[in-house]
């Protein structure tokens, strides 16, 4: 299965809703410079580059062309990738794949989104709706997740208060993460009285619009020790896309996240995910989705995740360290979000996550990407192979 590979450097911007002080290219170079510094590397040491952004949320066509010179990529080989919200996930998957060929010693991967410059990205086509079918409905991520949250509540017995518990937990985590965007000091009452967007989704439940970028550097095994003594090994990865099926969203057999996890767990002999994986960074575009995602990654049985919140079992120092960074409802530079997840998971494995570090040794961490109406990329990291 190709060469063993490890991440030797990571970097992200301090995520904000607006960054009028920089261009998109300058925003990217902030993340790239941090990743290079983290790996004690200079851009001249990079041999191949993979980039990505969810273009409709930026309002540009193939922006890699004018972003990459600012990041020092001139004269290097590379390309841009895009898959709606999983953009950063396919950039990472491509980075892992290309590193595993052993043809290059060092790969730089980065993704970005500067949503303060885009005009209503989700107005058009609901971020991936088919123009014949789902595009005919007023579908957006908001109505899509409202539909899912409603279905979840209907089947599980979860209440609006449980949904608010999830959002408060995320905020508590985000407040301890220096890079997170929204740090609001939420209470259950505040969430439950927030503006209703599409029942049961309130404004606070949805991910924000963000200007941000994230980057990482990945090497084949032979080059790893040259750059770091804290490599994070990439154990496995899997992309799974299903194509925005509206009606089947709650059908377990149609869950790309469930399927991708099953594939990766089977390949890596993971039988008890909660025991075998010590930190989770899972892309939840709405706080309500976190419940279903916890079930689909195998932490608990179907339609029971809300009980774990009721029992106060989810949090940085608690039994289930799920999204210790605060997750996507705190920070969402769409195309870059999967790489933010990956970066955060790397920091957890290295023990470098500062105030939001999960206690104890993190041997394994799982990061995911989500996009469209059911696309997923699963990335499994390890402290040592």
């Amino acid at each position: 299965m190709g060469e063993r590979i490890a991440i030797v450097g990571v970097g992200q911007t301090h995520h904000k809703s607006r960054r009028p002080d920089v261009t998109t290219a300058e925003l990217c170079s902030e993340a790239v410079e941090r990743a290079l510094a983290d790996a004690n590397m200079q851009i001249k040491d990079i041999e191949h580059v993979i980039m990505g952004s969810f273009e409709p949320a930026d309002g540009y066509h193939i922006p890699d062309k004018w972003i990459m010179p600012e990041c020092g990529v001139v004269g290097k080989s590379g390309f841009e990738m895009q898959n709606v919200g999983t953009t950063g996930g396919v950039v990472a998957a491509a980075g892992f794949t290309v590193a595993a060929t052993g043809l290059f010693d060092t790969l730089l991967c980065f993704a970005w989104q500067k949503m303060d410059e885009a005009a209503g990205a989700f107005g058009k086509g609901g971020g991936g709706a088919n123009e014949y079918w789902t595009g005919q409905f007023p579908m957006s991520p908001i109505t899509n997740f409202a539909r899912r949250a409603y279905a979840y509540m209907d089947r599980s017995g979860c209440t609006e208060e449980h949904l608010a518990m999830v959002r408060v937990k995320q905020d508590q985590c985000a407040q301890r993460n220096e890079y997170a965007q929204l740090k609001l000091g939420l209470t259950l009452e505040k969430v439950m009285n927030d503006t209703l967007l599409a029942w049961p989704i309130r404004r606070l439940h949805m991910c924000p619009t963000t200007a941000g970028a994230a980057a990482f550097i990945v090497c084949p095994e032979r080059a790893v020790s040259k750059w770091t003594n804290k490599p994070v090994w990439v154990e496995d990865w899997f992309t799974c896309h299903q194509g925005g099926g509206l009606t089947m969203a709650e059908d377990p057999s149609a869950s790309t996240l469930r399927h991708a996890c099953e594939v990766v767990y089977k390949r890596r002999g993971i039988t008890n995910p909660l025991k075998d994986i010590q930190a989770w960074e899972v892309y939840e575009p709405a706080s309500t989705a976190e419940l279903r995602w916890m079930e689909e990654v195998g932490i608990c049985d179907d339609y029971t995740a809300f009980k774990l919140f009721e029992q106060d079992k989810v949090g940085i120092e608690k039994e289930i360290p799920f999204n210790p960074s605060g997750g996507v409802t705190a920070t969402n530079p769409i195309g870059a979000t999967p790489i933010v997840r990956l970066v955060e998971a790397c920091l957890q494995v290295r023990g470098d996550a500062a105030d939001h570090q999960v206690p104890g040794t993190i041997n394994r961490a799982l990061a995911t990407a989500y996009g469209g109406q059911g696309e997923n990329v699963v990335m499994l990291l390890r402290k040592s192979l």
């Binding site: 922006p63 991936g128 194509g243």
Partner: protein, 385 residues
């Protein structure tokens, strides 16, 4: 690395000015089902079929964000691994080669699609220029090419007649290609009478716009390729390279990124003298001058000798290195699809299945694609039968 990568099946649509009878998804269905039928391969989880899809497409051209989702809906890639390179089709081919060499997947279905008739190409490509400097003076890919053409022909004394000869050659070649859009030929006089598009480029020296169409291929490991077909075509070398975006930072009369990409691809393929060793080239001439400039970059003649090359007749179908025996982009190909269609044409030639446009005894070929203004990002694919 896991041996060589083989192309085992190719398909293309007819290229038309306006395919109003077919939806993008239907075009994709035609070409992907074609290659699946040729090989008997279906999407499978157990490694015995197609492991993943890799697409080349632009979101901004296809309208709804994430139009690749049709792969799931229409083609049957539902719940599969699926990634997309948002560059010219050669870059997706390059990435698919790396995917297979990594050992992460064995068999990849590639597809490239574009309906230029559904959008305004110039305006979208203007959105591909940098936001601070280029966009504000109205620079788009056509005007950028005009500046490059002026710089190149001015420096090297290329005459209008030499550029006319390129158009006449390619349009005559297209008469032998049933898939080509413009099969009616053209005279030098008519080329030189064409309206000015972006001085010195005449509309007759530019790729026609709009063009609709799609192509598909199946690539796999050496071992599986030998089992699937008795006429596999091997990808022996590939590389890409970025140049500056800012036209002022480039010597537009040269193509440094192509020179670098070609050198790396040739080195990987063990090609030392491209003019002698290669039997044909299918390259991406968005404009007539580019066939001459790219020929220099690919090593078919010395620097500044592109004019002499066309005069010598070496690039004619019966010449030493036939360039674009299919008719090339000047006979009508959509951007993005163009690069992968160049590879498809090379494969047909190397299998001896190119019909009336067949180059006799072709054993080695090169395909070239580019993306961005004035050929900023270049990709070279070396192929062998």
């Amino acid at each position: 690395m896991a041996g060589r990568v083989g192309i085992v099946a190719v398909a293309q649509t007819n290229f038309e000015e306006r395919n109003s009878l077919q939806h993008t998804g239907e075009m994709m269905y035609d070409v992907t089902r074609d290659v699946m039928g040729q090989t008997g391969l279906e999407f499978k989880d157990d490694g015995t079929g197609i492991d993943m899809t890799t697409a080349a497409a632009y979101d901004s051209f296809s309208g709804p964000a994430g139009a690749y989702m049709f792969l799931g809906y229409v083609v049957g890639a539902y719940m599969r691994q699926d990634e997309r390179v948002i560059e010219d089709g050669t870059l997706a081919t390059y990435y698919a080669m790396l995917q297979i060499l990594s050992g992460h997947v064995d068999t990849v279905l590639l597809v490239a699609y574009n309906k230029e008739s559904g959008c305004i190409k110039n305006e979208l490509e203007w959105q591909g220029m940098d936001q601070l400097y280029h966009r504000r003076v109205g620079l788009d890919f056509v005007t950028a090419a005009g500046l490059q053409a002026r710089s190149y022909i001015g420096k090297n004394g290329i005459t209008p007649e030499q550029l006319g000869k390129v158009v006449v050659k390619n349009r005559n070649n297209a008469k032998n290609n049933p898939f080509a859009m413009l099969k009616n030929g053209i005279t030098i006089d008519d080329v030189l009478k064409g309206a000015m598009l972006a001085d010195p480029i005449r509309i007759t020296e530019a790729k026609p716009v709009p063009v609709d169409g799609a192509v598909a291929m199946i690539m796999t490991t050496e071992e599986k390729a030998k089992k699937l077909t008795d006429k596999p075509v091997w990808v022996t070398g590939a590389s890409s390279c970025y140049d500056y975006n800012d036209l002022g930072q480039r010597d537009l009369a040269e193509c440094n990124s192509l020179v670098t990409a070609a050198q790396k691809a040739y080195k990987m393929a063990g090609i030392k003298d491209p003019l002698k060793e290669l039997d044909l080239a299918e390259i991406s001439e968005h404009y007539a001058y580019q066939e001459l400039l790219w020929s220099e970059g690919l090593g078919f003649c010395g620097k500044g000798e592109g004019g002499k090359l066309i005069d010598s007749g070496k690039t004619a179908p019966s010449g030493e290195i036939p360039v674009n025996p299919s008719g090339g982009m000047l006979s009508g190909l959509p951007v993005c699809v163009a690069g992968m269609q160049r590879v498809v044409e090379c494969v047909l030639q190397l299998r001896g299945e190119a019909g009336d446009r067949q180059v006799k005894g072709a054993k080695k070929a090169v395909a070239q694609g580019c993306d961005g203004p004035a050929g900023q990002l270049q990709c070279v694919i070396a192929l062998e039968n």
